[in-house]
Amino acid sequence: MINIQDMRDTARDLLAKNEVRAVIGYRRGSSGMNAEPVVITDAAQADELVWDPTCFHNLALYLVEDRKFLAHTRAKPGLPIAIVAKGCDARAIVVLMQEHYFKREEVYIIGMSCEGTGVLDERKLASQGIQASNAAFDGDDYVFTTAQGEKRIAAREVMADRCLECRIPYPREHNVVLGEDKTGRVLAEPFAALKRFEERDAAERWIYWERQFDRCIRCFACRSVCPMCFCDECVVDSISFPVTAQTTAEEKANRVRWIERSAVRSENITYHMTRAMHLAGRCVDCNECERVCPVNIPLRLLNNKMEREAREQFGYEPGASIGAPALVASFLDNDPEKFIR
């Protein structure tokens, strides 16, 4: 089991020795039991850092934010930035590096092995009727502090599905790593939900998705939270259009409007299809998008579908290697083509 003090010491050392300019980690939130992301720049803040089953956020997002901030202020990064990263987070960082969003030496990865106990799925906990104010790891269990006292639950009962299915619950890419490598400890069959879903026929699948897509309010939380959605302007809309001094009137005037802003089915589905396509081979299944969706749209199914295609048809593993080309920018001579006439 990881000793939280080790993580704090690591962060403190890095900051004290001026090896990094900041550490992205988790701290206690101000409401409820959940941890929240924090960026600390002072060694004295290291003791704020926490590590518990509510550290579900994929912090790689804040590397992206940091990069955008630097670009905006035209500041030179100087020292690297450190980040606390789980297995999936580290894979996300690898994808970002694959896409040259930053260089390896600009990031100091404090790897956290999930040791097979993953992170919590709040909805599973809620469905057990538990309201807790704090959560902690303990061996293979989670321990919750509730109004009725301490409650111990086997982690696998309330763990996020993606953690149950995780093949490599370990940050392969790291500068330091805490915890044991429990790779191989897969608690549930990968793509289980996907498999179950695919047993339905096309008509049933549509009925299901139609209802899901109709519900989307296009708050774009799914996109905002995804470290892979780092584009300044998303192709599907004009939100956050990166107007610079070089952007011409022509460019501004001639943006293609692939989708409209109205949250109606046709636009929502195009948005989600596009997003799934754009995440093919890039999504690392951190499942943040699905977690943050306020209306419970099962985005993981879409991402898993793409992930499995990539793996099974093209032998492609997202976030496996910094040097690998992107899934859709490469091919194999014998890629499947049975579908082609």
């Binding site: 409401s31 939100i239 956050s240 501004k252 109205s262 306020p294």
Partner: protein, 344 residues
Amino acid sequence: MQKILEKIQLDAWIAALGEWEILAPAMEDGIWGYHPLDGAVRLDHSNTTQPPKGLSFPQREVFFSFEQIKGEPPRLTQKMPAATRRAVFGVRPCDGAGAVRMDKVFSDHVADPYYQNRRKNLAYVGLACNKPQGSNCFCLSVGGSPVATEGMDVLMTDLGDRYFVTAVTETGKALMSAAAKVFTAPTAADKKLVEKTHADAVAQPQRAVNDVDAAPAKLKASFDSPLWEELARACIGCGVCTFLCPTCHCFDINDESTGSSPIKGNRVRTWDNCQFPDFTMHTSGHNPRESLGARLRQRVSHKFQYFPENFGMPQCTGCGRCISECSVGIDIINTVNKVTGHVG
């Protein structure tokens, strides 16, 4: 008008409201929302994920359609919402208060015909909160109450096997009169019980924003505080907090159209929100609220400073949605308290 409604009579009441389309809370795909009534009403819901604001201010509103045949002037066809009367059951007091704020925005200066048309046909049949619906409720501290009638046409209070039903507006009276038979007059005991229930509800512990009345001045003084950036550091700039807020009303107007002749399309209003990076970005690229800190400041200041300055009430009703649903724990209570706590 104060009446008693046996819980088993609720369906009978609704059945009598033939002219009304009834919306009631229902759980779909794991979330509570207001849906057209399907079967019996069960008002055992916790607060809905989305407030009922979409009923008067839908995510998408078509203003008018246009058709432009080459060489001819464009033809515009106004699209006013259909005048169906809709009664929404189970609205929580914070959302009632939200409607009051929305009404102000959409009638101040000039009246918004689309909003007004929908709103005048909408009746809120509220349900008092005997206890807070979630750990992030803070209505009391922002001038509301779990039993407030603000914004409601009718307020019901759960008394176990009965509801204590109060008509707040004329519409409310009409709603109740439509099924006069199902209601009974409250006894003195009923009145006592409801008083006690309300008192208990108000006494329940809630989170709180400190000194809302002093907030405008304090926020004004803290405009340049570095705390804003610090507090917004984790914010991902999504739209959850405002899209789910019962009082956020910012919108965008766009033309959705075909490019080929004849050009046909609609001018459409959609929700928009101040947390999106391009919300205020000028065409030149200059953005008055570029940073997340500035945007968080706008959201919080709008609710606790600007709106009070204009309308004499905070634009936050304490429903706690933006806290509970924020994926990274940005907490409006904490934010206001921290920022205002730094000024004397």
